[in-house]
């Protein structure tokens, strides 16, 4: 019998048969991991089985490659965010992007830490939108599509980086961009750690990460479209800010 126990974030729940559910968890040591929750399709467990919830997962299976079964215990609920449309859109975007993009059973401890921190700060509207943008950058990085914002790809300059090439994902300085600037993606200063993010910078940043999610990540995952929850979050941010 193989077994482990670890705290994690619930990513998704799908009914399985009459009374069970197949859930996907994201944990520090086991990454995105699926398992059956007996009774998970019933009303008693419904409050626990909400995406974004922090739970303690105990997984058991006879063999390592079996789907296995989870038993779960609550750690903390994030249902307080249900009343805030922007925070709820953020919660849905984080969980659905992780469920969409992460390979199964591959640990991503850095991304896990960042995801939990982001989910915990969803109530604070002054900080979480930037943290969400940084989360998307980290997701691209973890999956091998990271952007190189360290220097200008044309001149090698480290100053005045203002654009990103939509083809290579590398930074371009304002001077080197010249007449090509309108064909490049704006690089918001907040992604270079320069001051707090303005609303315009956040939206530029999301346009930047959205481009690489659409053109790099999605094709690598079988050309499935990026989850609609992410699109709805960006639309909601655009209206709010």
């Amino acid at each position: 019998m193989i077994a482990w126990q670890e705290e994690g974030v619930l990513l998704s729940v799908r009914k399985h048969g009459e009374s069970s559910a197949i859930v996907e968890a994201f944990t520090r040591s086991h990454g995105r991991h699926a398992g059956v929750v007996r009774g998970g399709g019933g009303r008693r467990m419904a409050p626990l089985l909400q995406p974004g919830g922090q739970l303690s997962f105990s997984w058991r299976a006879r063999l390592e490659d079996h789907l296995g079964a989870f038993t779960i215990e609550p750690v903390r609920s994030r249902s307080a965010h249900f009343a805030d449309p922007l925070a709820l859109a953020g919660l849905s975007a984080v969980t659905s992007l992780l469920a969409f993009a992460l390979p199964e059973r591959e640990p991503h401890p850095g991304l896990y830490t960042r995801s939990v921190a982001l989910l915990d700060m969803l109530g604070d509207e002054d900080v979480w939108p930037l943290a969400y943008l940084v989360f998307e950058m980290a997701l691209l990085e973890e999956l091998g599509f990271g952007l190189d914002l360290s220097r200008c790809t044309l001149s090698g300059d480290r100053e005045n980086l203002a654009f990103v090439s939509p083809r290579t994902g590398r930074a371009v300085s304002r001077e080197a961009a010249g007449d090509w600037a309108d064909r490049l993606l704006p690089l918001p200063p907040c992604l270079l750690g320069q001051g707090p993010a303005t609303a315009g910078e956040l939206l530029d940043g999301l346009r930047l990460t959205g481009h690489f999610l659409d053109t790099r990540l999605a094709p690598a995952l079988g050309d499935r479209p990026i989850p609609g929850a992410r699109t709805r979050l960006v639309e909601r941010m655009r209206r709010r800010f």
Partner: protein
């Protein structure tokens, strides 16, 4: 094996596909039907045939009915300016069982779901917005589940309805009848505390 036995097996297999029934309980139900052939099985078969021929979605609210407009939408008494938005027909029936709501309903046919790729276009949200002015709706009551998908849908609908200047309310969330605090999850306790009122 005789034809009759095959037919019975086919019936058991069909019954076992119903929610709440497995092969064993389906077998028990079929055996009961066969034993009560004249008083239960034949009327049931006839009634199922009639419902299969006539049941349809109400063109206005999405309720299941035998006519183009369901009894609730056809009743002038229910046109009191209150419109209750529910996820599914079973939710509408649950509300009707309580007997407390005297307005009309709108069945969405699901909720927005990132996992199942259900977007606004797959739901009956445009039809909801189209009903507001012609029916003189004063208040829209969002009676959707307290789940991530349910509340995401509620916020989306609120955004669609806001420009129409109609009052928007939602069902309260908190301690259920017979509920004890010790057994409630912390999300429910938070919602209940936030929605506290003068006693």
């Amino acid at each position: 094996m005789s034809d009759a036995a095959t037919d019975i097996d086919d019936l058991i297999a069909l019954m076992a596909r119903l929610p709440g029934l497995g092969p064993r309980s389906a077998r028990r139900a079929v055996l009961h039907l066969v034993k009560k052939r004249s008083i239960l099985m034949k009327p049931l078969a006839e009634q199922m045939g009639r419902v299969a021929a006539t049941a349809r979605e109400c063109t206005l609210c999405g309720n299941i009915s035998g006519t183009e407009l369901c009894a609730i939408c056809a009743s002038e008494a229910r046109a009191n300016g209150e419109l209750c938005v529910v996820e599914d027909v079973s939710d509408l029936w649950a509300m009707e069982r309580s007997g407390i709501f005297k307005g009309r309903y709108h069945v969405l046919g699901g909720t927005l779901s990132a996992l199942d790729a259900v977007g606004p276009d797959e739901l009956r949200i445009p039809r909801l917005v189209a009903r507001l002015a012609p029916e003189g709706v004063r208040e829209v009551i969002l009676a959707l589940g307290a789940t991530v998908d349910g509340q995401t849908t509620a916020h989306y609908i609120a955004e669609q309805i806001e420009p129409h200047g109609i009052e928007l309310t939602s069902l309260a969330q908190g301690v259920p009848i017979g509920g004890e605090l010790d057994y409630l999850d912390d999300g429910t306790i938070t919602a209940a505390l936030n929605a506290r009122r003068a006693f």
